[in-house]
């Protein structure tokens, strides 16, 4: 009886694994109703009529999403010159709070992104926030993987500090930003976009739609970003 159970378990699990590998390999496909229209103009780089519209579904508190963003931000001038200013790529970030089940800060992080976007300073705020998270937590091994210690629930001031940093070199009204955060003005748009994103990414972020190169997860560096763009046809 035990032998029969072992055989059944072996066959079932092997079939499940092979099936899942095949399913996953064929899974990330561009959805049939994939929209070329940007969800939020302020969360884009480049010209809307560029040759290629590359989309990144992201969450500020997703560590691998942050790794991808940091990878190209550290080579920003080269990245912009090669892909954005050359008119080859229209890069769009679709910000969500898709990992709010795992992170108590995902929602507030998303709201911060959208509040900054309403004032046209999404990218400045996003990179300041990533810099802050890297200094305070990621560089110390906190919030970097499923087994690492989690980032604790952060107070509202943590999300306003990057806005203050941005205000020193860009046009961002900190009072207006604080009011947006306090009154949850950006929350409906964040939630609506998260729902739309969930139908595409199935809980996986970062999720990349670079023409026919569709994938999820990131564990590399700027060289990997370049390979992804190349695989996307650029």
């Amino acid at each position: 009886m035990r032998e029969k159970i072992k055989v059944i378990l072996f066959i079932t699990l092997s079939t499940l694994v092979v099936g899942l590998i095949i399913y996953n390999a064929s899974m990330p496909k561009k959805p049939a109703d994939f929209s070329k229209k940007a969800w939020h103009e302020a969360m884009t780089l480049g010209k809307a009529d560029a040759e290629n519209h590359f989309i990144v579904y992201t969450d500020i508190f997703c560590p691998y999403c942050d790794d991808f963003s940091r990878a190209w931000a550290e080579h920003e001038s080269e990245f912009k010159s090669d892909y954005i200013e050359s008119g080859k790529v229209y890069l769009e970030y679709r910000l969500t709070d898709i990992i709010s089940d795992h992170s108590p800060n995902a929602e507030r992080g998303g709201e911060g992104g959208y509040c900054a976007a309403t004032q046209g300073t999404f990218w400045e705020y996003y990179h300041e926030m990533l810099k802050k998270l890297q200094e305070d937590y990621h560089s110390k091994g906190i919030g970097v993987s499923k087994t690492s210690p989690k980032i604790p629930e952060l107070d509202d001031d943590y999300f306003v500090e990057p806005a203050r940093a941005v205000a020193e070199y860009a046009t961002l009204d900190v009072g207006k930003f604080e009011s947006c955060m306090k009154n949850h003005e950006a929350l409906p748009e964040l939630k609506q976009n998260t729902t739309k994103a969930s139908a595409v990414v199935n809980g996986s972020v970062p999720y990349f739609v670079f023409n026919d190169f569709v994938s999820s997860g990131f564990g590399g560096d700027y060289a990997t970003v370049k390979m992804m763009f190349k695989a996307g046809g650029v």
């Binding site: 899942l20 499923k146 997860g217 564990g219 060289a223």
Partner: protein, 201 residues
């Protein structure tokens, strides 16, 4: 408990005896790298794997493999998840090497064939559980997350996070017991061979 500890010590001795043959060391190293890299690739989601099979050049493919190999050994920081991956890969490598040793060493009678088949099934179940447990379910990147997301909608990735831990733990325990059993068998084989030669002398 004492008997179990003794069995573990003998199993460890058995593993060392098998690994005195350089062929099994080489096989174990290759299998360790294979399992470790497979688990690491799956842990990172689908991007690196898809890049490997895309229009990247040979040099770029080699660079991806080297990056993943480096990550396996904590080149970009060691974590508990990476340590688990290494341990499971090691147990799997030893299990399959020991299995091959058993198949070659034992007489090919019906009882032994049945036992070998059972051990292959156990090692296979351990490997399958390890693969099912891989991934960062916390960010929704795991082998099992998409299908659970389809079934359970928005709570799918949370369920995947819990189930991937269960699978990983099960893989670790099963792989350990497989190595212990096979290592003990290896010890018995070597002990009986030593007695055989001692009698001849």
């Amino acid at each position: 408990m004492e008997r179990w500890v003794d069995e573990c010590k003998l199993a460890f001795d058995g593993v060392l005896q098998v690994l005195k043959n350089w062929r099994y060391v080489a096989l174990s190293v290759l299998l360790f790298l294979f399992f470790g890299m497979l688990l690491s690739f799956l842990n990172n989601g689908s991007t690196e794997l898809r890049l490997l099979f895309s229009n990247t050049s040979l040099g770029e493919k080699a660079s991806i493999m080297l990056t993943v190999l480096g990550q396996m050994f904590g080149a970009d920081g060691m974590s508990f998840s990476r340590i688990l991956t290494l341990v499971i890969a090691l147990f799997q490598a030893l299990a399959w090497s020991l299995l091959l040793f058993m198949i070659k060493a034992k007489k090919k009678n019906k009882a032994d064939k049945k036992r070998r088949l059972s051990e292959i099934e156990e090692a296979g179940v351990g490997a399958s559980l390890a693969l099912l447990g891989t991934g960062c379910s916390g960010c929704g990147v795991s082998l099992i997350a998409p299908i659970l997301g389809t079934i359970f909608s928005s709570s799918g990735h949370l369920i995947a996070s819990i189930t991937s831990w269960v699978f990983t733990l099960a893989a670790l325990i099963l792989s350990f017991f497989t190595v212990k059993k096979l290592g003990f068998d290896g010890y018995v084989i070597h002990a009986s061979e030593r007695r055989k030669y001692a009698r001849k002398d």
